[in-house]
Symmetry: C2
Subunit: 369 residues, 2 copies
Amino acid sequence: MSASFRFDLISRQGKARAGIFHTPHGPIPTPIFAPVGTQASVKAVSPAQLAETGASLVLANTYHLYLRPGADLVAEMGGLHEFMRWPGPMLTDSGGFQVFSLSSMNKIDEDGVVFKSHIDGSLHRFTPEKSIEIQQQLGADIIMAFDECAPPHDRDYNQRAMGRTHAWAERCLKAKTRPDQALFGIVQGGVFADLREESARFITSLDFPGYAIGGLSVGESKQEMHAMLDLVPPLLPEDKPRYLMGVGSPEDLVNGILRGIDIFDCVLPTRLARHHAAMTLTGRLNLMNAAFSRDPRPIDPDCDCYTCREFSRAYLRHLISAKEILASTLLSIHNIRTLLRLVEACRQAILEGDFDRYAADFLRNYSKK
Amino acid sequence: MSASFRFDLISRQGKARAGIFHTPHGPIPTPIFAPVGTQASVKAVSPAQLAETGASLVLANTYHLYLRPGADLVAEMGGLHEFMRWPGPMLTDSGGFQVFSLSSMNKIDEDGVVFKSHIDGSLHRFTPEKSIEIQQQLGADIIMAFDECAPPHDRDYNQRAMGRTHAWAERCLKAKTRPDQALFGIVQGGVFADLREESARFITSLDFPGYAIGGLSVGESKQEMHAMLDLVPPLLPEDKPRYLMGVGSPEDLVNGILRGIDIFDCVLPTRLARHHAAMTLTGRLNLMNAAFSRDPRPIDPDCDCYTCREFSRAYLRHLISAKEILASTLLSIHNIRTLLRLVEACRQAILEGDFDRYAADFLRNYSKK
């Protein structure tokens, strides 16, 4: 691992871990939740507002930025941190997931994928080398190996996709040249224990500074997800960070941390915000509900975010009902802060040796209204 | 005038004035531009971001808030300041202008107006007494007399509307009871010098703590507007603030200040922001223009706003092109700050006795691209 990156494991309780992952743009306390700035903007939130939520790691999407405004343009403007003015640590995904889920056509072979832009239908080709080249132009602190995320229950597909993912992981390692970026490998394998085990053994045989678990929260049941999370983390090295990709509901965070995950990302808090839902540590509130129209209380009296310090549910409901942009901003700030408060509380509980009780209490009280 | 309100005229140069209007929610340095928060939100901008632009007076619309969420609800939540969390001075209009311009039907008689809600088609009635009742429920520092704004070139209509506006002004004064609100009278009369003069003489015969000029920037030519602004302010008392309603382009501000106006409001900066236009003190930039796609400069290197301190034109163009909400927020912040920088510079020039030169230079250099 380059000198710029170091993972300090500070405390463990059961499988749960508290640590710090050091990056060229500052330390990431783990466990951490990373808000997503798909197009180099965490939707409806300014970098100053985002910093106020206590966010550390922020994710951006390679597929979107490659198509618009273009990775060369971002590089010319000084890279992603400078372009979007996020001074803290950043992560880009490989673009693989979006090629399969967003483009209107894609054709895969052992070398890479040809796909159609969801914006203008133009044809493009991603290979492991191309994904790394783009991610090096974007310049995030953590970059991801180019992988293929298969439908979780299709065993044959998962076997073939895993084979490609493993070959591509080796090619990504070879292609990577920037010393100020940490390239993470990705374990795939769907819901199949033997494939997941094979994938974990292969990917950890390569020298990555961190390991991700992909292909979860993509259609499998909670039980299946938990089974994979029981299985995979013990197969990963203790001294490197573990990243569960695309997962971000409060109960998934706690269940992941219980099973040894350090890093999470998800569009959920900002997407829910644009659909009038406020997240709390005991469940969700739909603020469009007429019951809130004269409610002078903040969303969550225990929350310390700007939205909860300043505004009533009645005002937020009015903004939603009047279709004011500020509604999305204030709910996004609150939802992001809620997930950050949750990971901060988990981390504190791990440091104090009290996480088992914290997690049990949380999961008992949490209702996914 | 109630003890809560006092207008200190600090300096004059020609007809231009620099002063301070004291309100229960703090002082308003004049000349001032007031951003508009139609539905109790300055569109796309949080109160914290708005405070950072240096805004003092903020306007909200009685017609909109009466229809949604309802003035009784705002009152129950502690009034407009508390509801939207703007701690500074606020102004509400009378609702008259919107009844005539926004509702799908309106029927006027000497007593008031029946109109259809633009939201759900329901029928409502505004009278001078009702407008004051609503504005007292909302609780802004400055409230406005209920008036009728006629098409500027229809002499007969203007004569009739002026008669109603005068009778309604007297009824508004009688209806008003809250000592912590200043009720301003409004001069009407279209583009007709004799009507404007008659209106100014009548309205100033009533004891209002401030006077507004209505019915300008509603379809008349710039020449006609300037003729009315040459005529009316000298007919208003020196020791009370003068408010030119609904006017907010940079050159209109300078032309108004030159003619003795103290207060302006307009949706222009936030509306232009949502249409990709950045205001500067020399003209407008359409940031959607491809010429900006690789431009590393801020919108205006002389601007001290958050947007110009942090972000490049290239990034702003990307946000616009990618339809990110943050584009509206960042451009709104910049445009509001630009108009506030302009009135601050005018005020400073008046205090230094240099305003004639400042205004002449400004108007020579300004191009309404």
